[in-house]
Point group: C2
């Protein structure tokens, strides 16, 4: 199945910026980055559970927001993309949206 | 239907920051902000076309990325939310992701 992971991590603190990097790293192991804080992941039910568990371990619920959207297949019928998909992102620096 | 709007606007320039504000403003007229650059919009087919048209007028395809995800209803079966949903966002300032 296709899962869209979107996260909003509070990077006002050093710890927040660390969480941001760690959340991105988890996502990278499961799917494709399509925006600075959005990933598209094609995963099995079991992998999805693993992804969710790992993400929930990283985020701080009082400060961050995580959303997991489950797309109905076929994916291409449910996604429209416009513009550039940048392939380089700098996780080690604070990013400007 | 439920549309998830996710955008990534290049805010390195003043023009980019202006686009970011304008994209957010369009989205606000159609739905609910759930993250800094993610909105959830419940719209008719006709409203969706209007939303898409207005967004495409604002973004710069060589610099920005826009994704529109169409969720299958019922929405609640396809969305998981964790953590804080901040209700205040400062569009007038560069935002740190």
């Amino acid at each position: 199945m296709w899962i869209i992971v979107a996260y909003d991590v509070n990077t006002e603190t050093k710890a927040g910026r660390r969480r941001l990097r760690r959340v991105a790293q988890v996502c990278k192991n499961f799917g494709q980055r399509v925006q600075k804080s959005v990933f598209e992941c094609q995963v099995s039910e079991m992998k999805f559970e693993e992804l969710r568990r790992k993400l929930l371990k990283e985020i701080k619920r009082e400060e961050d927001n995580l959303r997991l959207y489950r797309l109905t297949e076929p994916r291409d019928d449910h996604v429209e993309t416009y513009g550039l998909t940048r392939t380089i992102f700098f996780d080690d620096e604070p990013l400007i949206v």
